[in-house]
C-alpha cells in the first residue's frame, strides 16, 4: 500500500470513536469508514492541495526531492512523533467526553439499595441477578428504554442487579446472537432472563431449550399461548408478557383523528406481523370513532400506513423514518402516529412545526417520549413493564414461576390511566381539552380488549373480521391477518 494512504486510514479508523456519543453502531461506521476511505483516496487523487502534504509522507521521495539527505533522520522522527501525538490527541478528545459515562455505569448503586430493603422485611425471597436483553439502545426514548426502566423497577423492588445487553439485533451486533448473550448472562449468575423483542424469537427459543433450569420471559411473544400458533409446551421455563396496547393505540388513534383537520392521518409502522397489524387496526378504529364523533363523514378519513421494515431505522436496510414522516406531511397529512421504537417522528414534526406548519404527532412506547418534542406531541400510548416484570421476578424468587402467556389489560378509570397500569395513554401539551374529553369518553366506554373490535368490521380484502355487534375471539385478535377496510397500506400477505 502506498504510504500516503496510511494516514487517512488512521483518521478514518478513529471515526467510530468520535461518533461513539451519538449511539451509532460500529457496523455502519466501518461501512462509513470505508466509503470515507474511498472518498479520501479520491480526494487525494483529485485535489491538489493535498498533494504536497501527502508526498511528505513518502519519506524517501521527500528526502530525494527536497533535502540533501542529512535532514532525513530528523524529519522522519519528528513526523512519526507528530503522527503519534496527533492520533493520541484525536483519541483523547474523542473519548474524553465519554469518560464519565462508562465509569459510573457499573451498577454499584444496586448494592446500597439492596441492604435497606433486605433488612426490614424479614428476608423475603429475592433474586440476585437478572438479564435484560434489549433490541436497541437503553436510552432510545422508546421501546427499549421502557423495558430498561421495567428492569430498573425490579432493581428497586428487590435489590437485584440487572445485567444489560443492548443493541442486540442482527444489524448492530451481527456477531452476537440472543442465545449467546443469554448464555453469558446465565454464566454470570442471572436467574431470570428478559428477551424484549419479537425479533428475538429464534434466539430465545434456543436459549430456553439450552437452559431449561433458568426462567425466561420473551416479551410480546406467543410461545406460551396454549391456543396459539407458536405454542412451545416443551419450553416450561419460557413465559410471555405483553400489555394490551390495543387500548393505548385506540386512544392514540382517537386523539389523532380528533386533532386532525384534514382527516389525513399517517401511521409510521415498523415491520408487518400479527402484533403490528392488530395494533394498527386498533389505532384505526380509534381514529374512525373519533373522526365520526366530530361530525365528519367516515369517507373523509384517510388513514395511511407505511412500514419501514424493522422496529427502528437501520441505514441501508429499512426505510428512513425521517424521510417517511416528511413524505407524510408533504402529501397533506397533518397528524402522524408513530409506531416504531425510536422517536424520529416527534423530531421531524417538531422541525416542521417550527417552520410554521400545522402538524402534530402521537408518540409510542415510552411514557416520557413526548419530552422529545413537547409542543407538537398530542400524547403517547406507553408501556409500563415494571409491575409485570417485578411480579415475574417475585415468582422466580418464590419458585412459583411458570411458563405463562400473559396479555395484561390496562387499569383505566373513567378513561384515564392509573399509575400501575401496564399500558397507558399519557396526554401531551398539544392535546386540546376537547380531544382530551373525547378520548376519555371513548376509552371509558371500552369493556375489555375485544370490545375495541366490535363489529361490523371488515378486513382489507372485504372478508369479515367481526359481524355487526359481535366481537372476535382473543385468538383472532392476537393473530390478526390483515389491515382493515378503510385503511391504506400493505397487509404483508404472502
Amino acid at each position: 500500500m502506498n504510504k500516503a494512504f496510511v494516514f487517512p486510514y488512521f483518521v478514518c479508523l478513529s471515526i467510530p470513536i468520535c461518533y461513539k456519543n451519538v449511539n451509532l453502531n460500529f457496523y455502519f461506521l466501518i461501512k462509513l469508514n470505508n466509503s470515507l476511505f474511498g472518498a479520501i483516496i479520491f480526494i487525494i487523487d483529485k485535489f491538489s492541495i493535498f498533494i504536497e502534504f501527502f508526498e511528505i509522507l513518502n519519506f524517501s521521495l521527500f528526502a530525494e526531492k527536497y533535502i540533501g539527505g542529512k535532514m532525513l533522520q530528523d524529519i522522519k522522527f519528528k513526523f512519526i512523533l507528530g503522527l503519534l501525538v496527533s492520533s493520541a490527541m484525536i483519541l483523547a478528545v474523542a473519548c474524553s467526553s465519554d469518560t464519565p459515562e462508562p465509569t459510573p455505569a457499573p451498577a454499584p448503586t444496586a448494592e446500597p439499595t439492596a441492604e435497606p430493603t433486605a433488612e426490614p422485611t424479614a428476608e423475603p425471597k429475592t433474586i440476585e441477578k437478572f438479564g435484560m436483553i434489549l433490541v436497541g439502545p437503553r436510552d432510545d426514548k422508546g421501546w427499549s428504554q421502557a423495558h430498561f426502566e421495567g428492569g430498573e423497577a425490579i432493581e428497586k423492588a428487590m435489590g437485584a442487579e440487572m445485567i444489560v445487553a443492548d443493541f442486540i439485533n442482527p444489524a448492530d451486533s451481527p456477531n452476537t446472537t440472543v442465545a449467546q448473550v443469554a448464555a453469558d448472562m446465565i454464566d454470570q449468575g442471572a436467574e431470570l432472563i428478559f428477551a424484549t423483542s419479537d425479533d428475538m424469537k429464534d434466539g430465545i427459543l434456543e436459549a430456553a431449550a439450552a437452559h431449561p433450569e433458568i426462567p425466561m420471559i420473551w416479551s410480546s411473544g406467543d410461545s406460551a399461548f396454549a391456543d396459539g400458533k407458536g405454542y412451545k409446551p416443551e419450553l416450561e421455563n419460557l413465559g410471555n408478557i405483553m400489555g394490551q396496547m390495543e387500548f393505548g393505540k385506540y386512544m392514540a388513534g382517537c386523539a389523532a383523528a380528533s386533532e386532525s383537520k384534514s382527516g389525513n392521518i399517517g401511521f409510521l409502522g415498523p415491520l408487518i406481523n400479527d402484533e403490528t397489524r392488530r395494533l394498527t387496526n386498533a389505532a384505526y378504529i380509534g381514529a374512525r370513532d373519533c373522526w365520526v364523533d366530530k361530525g365528519n363523514s367516515i369517507t373523509d378519513l384517510n388513514f395511511e400506513v407505511i412500514w419501514i421494515g424493522f422496529w427502528f431505522h437501520i441505514p441501508g436496510v429499512t426505510l428512513d423514518p425521517t424521510t417517511v414522516v416528511n413524505d407524510f406531511y408533504d402529501s397533506g397529512v397533518d397528524v402522524v402516529i408513530s409506531h416504531i421504537d425510536t422517536p424520529e417522528a416527534l423530531t421531524v414534526t417538531d422541525q416542521r412545526a417550527a417552520d410554521g406548519e400545522d402538524v402534530l404527532v402521537v408518540g409510542y412506547d415510552y411514557e416520557n417520549s413526548c419530552d422529545v418534542a413537547p409542543s407538537v406531541c398530542i400524547g403517547v400510548p406507553y408501556f409500563n413493564w415494571g409491575p409485570s416484570y417485578v411480579e415475574a421476578a417475585e415468582n422466580v424468587a418464590n419458585d412459583t414461576f411458570s411458563a405463562e402467556w400473559t396479555w395484561v389489560a390496562p387499569k383505566l378509570e373513567n378513561g384515564v390511566t392509573l399509575e400501575d397500569s401496564m399500558v397507558g395513554f399519557k396526554s401531551g401539551d398539544a392535546m386540546s381539552s376537547e380531544t382530551s374529553e373525547r378520548v376519555s369518553k371513548f376509552a371509558s366506554e371500552l369493556d375489555g380488549i375485544a370490545s375495541i373490535f366490535t363489529g361490523p368490521i371488515n378486513y382489507q380484502d372485504g372478508t369479515v373480521m367481526s359481524e355487526d355487534g359481535s366481537t372476535p375471539s382473543l385468538y383472532d385478535i392476537w393473530y390478526t391477518s390483515q389491515l382493515l377496510e378503510g385503511m391504506t397500506g400493505d397487509s404483508g400477505g404472502n
Binding site: S48, I51, E52, K65, Y66
Partner: protein, 476 residues
Amino acid sequence: MKIEFKNISKSFGKVQANSKISFTISTGSIHAIIGENGAGKSTLIKILSGQILPDEGSIKLNNKKMILGSTQEANKKRIGILGQDPLDFSNFTVLESFLAGGNKSSVIVSKSKIEKIISEFSKKFDWEIDVNSLIKDLSVGQRQQLELIRLLYLGAKIIILDEPTSGFSLDQKKKVFDNLRELAAKGYSVILVSHKIEEILEICTKVTILQNGSVLQTLDLPVDPKLLIKKMFGKSSEITNNLTPSFIMNNNNNAKNLSLEIKEFSSEEKIKLAEGTIIGVAGLQGSGSDKFIKSFYSYSPQSKVYSDEITSVEYSNITYVASDRLEKGLFPDMTIKEHIALMYNSKSLINWSNTLELTKNLINTYGIVGNPETLAKNLSGGNQQRLMLALIKENTKLLLLEQPTRGLDIGSAKFVWENLFQTRSKKNLIIFSSVDLDEIYDYSDYIICFYDNKIVSTGYKNVLSKSIVMEKISGN
C-alpha cells in the same frame, strides 16, 4: 541575470559527470549547452536547479553566491526548468495542474485568474489549450507549452529548456523563439539544452560544448553547423573502422531472408534483411526509437517481422528487454529465484529445488552478484541487466533491446554485448536502440536512423557512414 559557473565538479561513484566546469552566461542571452549523451549536461542543469549538490565549485548569480543543493533556493532565485516530459499529474485538468504545481502556495487560488493567465499566454504564443481538458489528453507538445506558461506565471527569471521543442510545430516553434528572444531582451536568461543544431543556430547567441564532463569550448554564434556537429560528437565522429567483424559478411551464403513490416514509421513498407542480423536503431532521446522497438512487442503488433513471406514471428518467441529495468522489466520485490521460476517453469507445480539449481547455474553463468534469495531491487544496475539477460529464453527468435546498456558501466556493457554475440546465431533478429552512436556502430550490422518519430535513413553499417547518421538523427 548573469550566471557564473566556477569549477563545478560532480562524480557518481567512479563516473565523473562534471569536472571543473567553468563558464559564464551573460545577462539577456540565450545560451545553448550541447554535448553527447553522458557529456554532463543534465548533471549540470540539475546542479543549477538545486536537485544535485556538486562535490565542489560554486555558482554566482549576479555576482552573488548561490546556495547549492537546495531546490528551495533555486525557486527563490526564480530558476525554472522545462523538462522533456513535464507534468505527471496525468489525471488532472489543466487548471488543476496549475493549482497543484503552484509554488505560490497561497491557500486560495482564484480559478478565473488562472484561466485568464493561461488564455493570455495562449494567445500570445498562438497556442490552443483548453483549461478544462485533462493533462493526459494533451500531446507532449501541449504539455510543454503549458509548462512554459506555468514557469512564466510562477515568475521564473532563469528559464532552462531541456530538450523542449520536440512537441512544437514549426510555426509554434517560431512563436516560442520570438517570445524567448523578447524575454531575453527584458533581462531574462534562457538556457537551452538541445541536440538540434538548427534550433541552436536560429535563436542562441552563445553555445557551450560539453564533452566527457568538462567544457570543450564556448563559442559565439553563429558558426558553421558542421563544425558544431564535429565538436559535439568529439573524437568519436572520426572513428570509421570497426573492430567487430560483421556477422553478415561472414555468413552471407546460408542467410535466409527476413522482412520487417514497419508501416507506422516509414514510407518504405518492408525492409529485407538476412537472418541473424543485429539492427541498431539510432536516435536521440525522445526521437521515437524506443517506441519503434516497442511496436514489435504485442499479440497483434504494429510492426512485424516475417521469417518468410507469410509467417511472422510469434509473440511467444519475442523477448523484450526494457530499459527501465526495475520499473518495467523486473519485479522489484521478488527474488532472483522467483524471476527464474516465472520465466522457466512451465509446469503448474513449481519444483523449487530444481529452480534453485537452475538459478544458481544462471547466477554463475551470468556472473550476477547476488544469491537466489536476493530481491531484484537490491541488485545493482549492471546485475539487474545480467538478470534480464539470464531471463532471455532459448526459443527467442526476435530479441528487442531498449537501450540495453543505459546506465551501465563499461564492464557491464561489454559483458552484455559479449553475451548477445555469443547467442546471436540462435536468434533470427536482434533489434536494439541506443542514443550512443559508438554502441550502434560497434555492435550492429544494420542501422535505422530515427528523428521526430520517423525513420529518416536506413542502411548497412558499411554503407551508412557515421557522419551521415549524425546529421540524420540531428534532423539535418
